[in-house]
């Protein structure tokens, strides 16, 4: 997935964590998931991401998830942080 310099990041490359890259814009949700457990948990990860985007009412967004075996609470938390950072950046406020 290609991002501009406006993209924000949240998370880490530690075990049981994930790295989220996110850029607001466009009129669709584009979600790309990279995970060793994608076959089994890809759908659940996608649902966690969508749930957080719904919370914030985000429609147009590009997100890449690099998952290292994160729990659901961590996936939601990292996406939430990324969304808040992106919104703060858009509003010209410090993240």
């Amino acid at each position: 997935m290609e991002f501009s310099t406006n993209a924000v990041r949240a998370g880490s490359d530690a075990k049981h964590d994930l790295m989220v890259q996110l850029e607001l814009g466009g009129d669709a949700r584009e979600v790309e998931i990279h995970s060793k457990v994608e076959k089994k948990f890809g759908e659940a990860i996608q649902e966690d991401v969508e749930q957080v985007l719904d919370e914030f009412g985000i429609r147009g967004v590009k997100i890449q998830i690099d998952d290292l075996g994160a729990w659901d609470f961590a996936i939601k938390a990292r996406v939430r942080t990324a969304v808040k950072r992106a919104l703060a950046q858009k509003g010209g406020e410090p993240a």
């Binding site: 998370g11 880490s12 609470f73 961590a74 939601k76 938390a77 990292r78 942080t81 950072r85 993240a95």
Partner: protein, 291 residues
Amino acid sequence: MNSLYRTMFFVPGNASGKIAKAEIYGADCLIYDLEDAVSVNEKDAARDLVSSFLSTYRPDCRIGIRINGQDTPYYEDDVRAMVPLKPDFLRLPKSETAENVQALDALITEVEQANKISVGTIKIACSIETALGVYNAYQIAKASPRVFAIGLGAEDFRTDMRMARSEDAEEILFARNQISLCAHAAKVIPMDYVNSNFKDPEGFKKDVAFGKMLGFTCKSVIHPTQIGLVHEVYTPTDKEIEHAKKVVAVYEEAMANASGVIALDGKMIDMPIVTRAKDVLAYAKAAGKEI
């Protein structure tokens, strides 16, 4: 869940794997750390991570959150984000005066009311980390009915006092004594300091036993291997329990017979001994031991 606070185990607030696993080590209390364990660029992320975890899973033990100090830009956001999660308490670093504690009390009250949480639900544990804080320890402990524990933040205290660190922590003996004395005077829990040398279990155990001798009933820990060692030292042994049972039995028998002098194995038993014996039994029971 037992009612004791033998161990308060610090869990880094931005480490998802450690947060998920922390409960399995059996500490009486987990403290999610938003302060020293989290870099300044990740304070927002740590708040989101701890919030997400505690909203989803609730460990079967006491829950505390160490917030950032009142002299930082993160303090108020921490309180506003953490109080709605209803932890048992917030741990305030760098508590120096009663006013520090009262300011936190007022902010917690505001957030409790906004979230329809009964006022007074969230308690406060005070970390005392400076010379001024140690000097004011009793006033800090009595500053608010929310305060249920005070403890020494040894590293910051050493820095403030320009002390060199010794292997047996001799230099902080006065501060430990002062914290223990003031905690007992104020009827709050005395929390012993963090000993970060987890690679020396024997030295650590000796340090915990010394703290117990000074009156501490709780130890802050940073490594899972320290938890069992603290419990071992603080939990009464079978021998201590048996002795305490004998003391209480002899005392109760003497009371029933209206005897004047009470003795056990040739030694006089007076009221402080009976009180200590009852404390031992109550503590052992709370720790899950058979009485």
